[in-house]
């Protein structure tokens, strides 16, 4: 993966571009509000967001099944607003797979090739190659109903790729699979993506899936992209409280900014206490209300005196033993949902429910974001 390359993609050679795209179904509510995304060739971009946030709608506009109410969509430099879906050459995997039930697996795979009037021998060869790719070489003669969910899923992926589109869209393709199969399929799709170098736009509302598979993730909320960045960036440097809350586990404190400096600020917590937090751009200024975001694994329990700039005292409410770590729920500065993940190392501090302990963290791990 070359994240740096995809991040620094210049706007001009974007493979897919949404420019000021808006969408309304009923003329009253904007389901997609001013969407601007550039997707580089070969990139794996995931649209992540809660239900109803406009992910499918954006994908459907790209595929050509829904017209954009406003704005332009470009594919390989050309506006495709007036190009019908069958002329866009975009492969698609649907959540329910949409395998044609009245055709065999091989006929399903041959469908896009037949449409393109390929020769018989050519079709057979490509179908077989596609089946091999998804490791179902013997299944060509079966009907979709005779396959397991995971096998159907693979056939759907193979069918979207068999005609060698440059761009493949996948709308929650793993939504119907159980956890184990999901993880395996995530790996396989990722693998195929890397092998073929095809551009993938992927929709999910499973954040783990988004983080593990993608080059970049676009977090949708209410028709707006809240943040578009690489997975590590997204997790470690969320740009606003929605993203911080939506991605991973998050401890939050409400407070008011009392002083600001270059890249940090001082925050008076509503629950008592003062902490130093990292500033995020110009999101908050002096005197503003703010919500602090702090990942549970970045909290140190009972830190050495003076080792960390921020130390508060908390009370342990609940301990959950998870083997590799101990999930500790505490009351800190009035927040009863303060979670600390204590690694189950040989020399970790002894913990007991009801005990009072200090917790501490680095300034840059605690981000001062917009108030919730």
């Amino acid at each position: 993966m070359n994240k740096s390359a995809s991040q620094s993609q210049a706007r001009d050679d974007a493979f897919v571009r949404f420019e000021n795209v808006q969408k309304s179904y009923d003329g009253e509510v904007l389901v997609v509000k001013d969407l601007n995304v550039d997707i580089a060739e070969g990139e794996f971009l995931t649209m992540l967001g809660p239900s109803g946030s406009g992910k499918t709608t954006s994908l459907m506009m790209l595929a050509g099944f829904e017209p954009a109410t406003h704005g332009e969509i470009y594919l390989a430099g050309e506006s495709i607003n007036n190009v019908p879906p069958n002329k866009r050459g975009i492969g698609m995997v649907f959540q329910n797979y949409a395998l044609f039930p009245h055709m065999t697996v091989a006929e399903n795979l041959a469908f896009p090739l037949k449409v393109r009037r390929m020769g018989r021998a050519d079709i057979e060869e490509r179908v077989q190659r596609a089946l091999d790719m998804v490791e179902l070489p013997q299944m060509g003669g079966r009907r979709p109903a005779q396959l397991s969910g995971g096998q159907q899923q693979r056939v759907a992926v193979a069918r979207a790729l068999v005609f060698e589109p440059k761009l493949v869209l996948m709308d929650e393709p793993l939504g119907a699979l159980d956890k184990q199969l999901r993880e395996q399929m995530q790996y396989e799709i990722k693998h195929i993506h890397e092998n073929l170098g095809v551009t993938v736009v992927y929709v999910t509302h499973d954040q783990t899936e988004a983080l593990t598979m993608s080059d970049r993730v676009a977090v949708f909320e209410d028709g707006v992209i809240q943040q578009l960045s690489a997975p590590d960036e997204l997790y470690e440097r969320p740009q606003n409280s929605f993203v911080a809350q939506f991605i991973g586990e998050n401890n939050k404190f409400d407070g008011t900014v009392s002083a600001i400096s270059n890249d940090s600020c001082t925050v008076e917590l509503n629950g008592g206490g003062t902490v130093q937090a990292a500033r995020v751009g110009d999101l908050v200024g002096q005197g503003d209300r703010t919500t602090l975001s702090l990942r549970p694994e970045r909290v140190e329990i009972a830190p050495k005196n003076g080792a960390l700039p921020n130390v508060l005292t908390g009370e342990i409410i609940e301990l959950i033993y998870l083997g590799d770590h101990i999930r500790t729920r505490m009351r800190v500065a009035g927040n009863e949902e303060f979670i600390v993940k204590v690694p189950n190392s040989a020399d970790h501090v002894p913990l007991a429910e009801g005990a009072k302990v200090n917790v501490g963290w680095k300034t840059e791990d605690c981000r001062a974001l917009d108030p919730l």
Partner: protein, 435 residues
């Protein structure tokens, strides 16, 4: 299973060694035990269906059985002239029956003339003979009136004196046939055939060939109505299945509305619409499409039957189509389009094949309903719009030739069954989806 596991006591109670059958805890063989328990369940299930089974037996199976029976069994002859019925069977069909047999016939006729018992009058025999030999009704009635006066032989000569037609051999062969209780004559009549003087089967005279043409007409009219229903219903069902629920429900009510109106009212409405002084003609005249003198005859003919029946049977096509289309998610068409198929191609290769079960169910339903439809053709069909069921009704209600009505009904039933069988071959009944 290895021997070790076979010998292991299962649950401590049931044991199995070698090839001995498995036994339940109380020692009865497991199979028997299973049969016992399931038998009780089956019995319960059967009890639940009892009312329906009884109803079907009484209201459906019995009448159909009766119909089949009546079409083959007609004892009129032996009822009216019982002694003759027995005697004539000895005749070999050459020349004319013996003097003795004719004597019995004359005596039987004289006796029958005095009878007032329903079904045993001379009139019954005359009618029965007339079915087979049209125009010979009077021969029997006339002879019966004078039969009492014939007291001594030669009887044959006496009959010839009454009517020359007694010299025809076919009269006697026909009498011989119709005095048998079981007969195929009504099936022959229903297929425009008859027996000739020698008892072999021949085509009926041109003038009397009506049933086969009407049967064919019924079949093609039903097929035409089915086709028209399909052509109209398919796009409507598609629209219904794709529109938002709120609107499609409203439209569905419009589709179902005819079901809430009496059939008679609907058919009468078509009369008001289509008659020569009706709404449609008035509009045509008003618009100047036709002149007042050349108003179009749109009802009381085949056209009227077809228009009204298409309207009445349309919901039976729309409902199965709609219910099948409703289950086809739009993602199929989208998938096909995304793979490069044009709208038409995607429709023909992806959407249409998936609606086949609905098409099959709808066409079968409409066709079978149409082929036996009675009330609408009777009301708006005029003369050339009559179908086979109207003839059946005529025989049951007007001419009272129940046997012929039953034979026609049986043939209609067989035709329907044949179509059903063909359908099963072509589409497969498991593939039908009615809703």
């Amino acid at each position: 299973m290895s021997d070790a596991t076979l010998d292991m006591p299962v649950g401590g109670t049931a044991q199995r060694a070698g090839n001995e059958p498995l036994v339940a805890a109380d020692g009865t063989p497991l199979k028997q035990k299973l049969a016992q328990t399931t038998r009780r369940m089956k019995l319960r299930a059967l009890m639940l269906t009892m009312p329906l089974v009884l109803f079907v037996l009484i209201a459906f199976v019995a009448p159909i059985g009766d119909m089949l029976f009546r079409s083959l069994y007609n004892p009129t002859g032996s009822n009216v002239v019982p002694a003759f019925a027995e005697a004539i069977q000895q005749w070999d069909g050459q020349d004319l029956p013996s003097e003795e047999t004719v004597k019995i016939f004359v005596e039987d006729l004289a006796k029958a003339r005095r009878s007032r018992e329903i079904g045993r009058t001379v009139g019954n025999l005359a009618t029965r003979l007339n079915y087979e030999l049209p125009g010979y009704r009077s021969l029997v009635t006339k002879t019966a009136r004078r039969a009492a006066r014939i007291t001594e032989g030669p009887y044959k000569e006496a009959l010839f004196a009454i009517d020359k037609r007694w010299e025809e051999r076919i009269v006697w062969t026909t009498l011989q046939r119709i005095t048998k209780d079981y007969t195929l004559a009504f099936y022959l009549a229903a297929t425009d055939r008859k027996y000739d003087a020698d008892g072999s089967i021949v085509q009926a005279d041109e003038l009397y060939r009506i049933y086969v043409p009407i049967l064919w007409k019924t079949i093609w009219v039903s097929a035409l109505i089915t086709a028209l229903c399909f052509i109209i219903a398919y796009p409507v069902s598609y629209l219904l299945s794709t529109l938002p629920l709120r609107i499609s429900n409203l439209l569905m009510i419009l589709v179902l509305l005819p079901f809430w109106t009496s059939l008679l009212v609907r058919t009468s409405a078509w009369i008001a619409m289509l008659q020569t002084e009706g709404v449609v003609n008035n509009i045509f005249v008003y618009l100047g499409i036709i002149t007042d003198e050349s108003r179009i005859q749109m009802i009381y003919n085949l056209q009227g039957t077809i228009i009204a029946m298409v309207h009445i049977l349309l919901p039976f096509m729309i409902l199965p189509l709609y219910s099948v289309m409703k289950t086809i998610p739009p993602s199929y068409m989208r998938a096909a389009r995304s793979m490069g198929a044009s709208g038409t191609y995607a429709f023909m290769r992806v959407y249409f094949p998936q609606t086949v079960p609905g098409i099959a169910a709808g066409t079968l339903l409409v066709f079978i309903l149409a082929i036996g439809y009675y009330i609408t053709p009777a009301l708006v069909g005029g003369n050339d719009g009559l179908l086979i069921s109207n003839l059946i009704a005529d025989h049951i209600k007007k001419t009272l030739n129940w046997s012929l009505g039953a034979a026609l009904g049986t043939i209609l039933l067989v035709v329907v069954l044949v179509f059903y069988w063909l359908y099963n071959k072509l589409v497969g009944v498991d593939n039908l989806k009615f809703g």
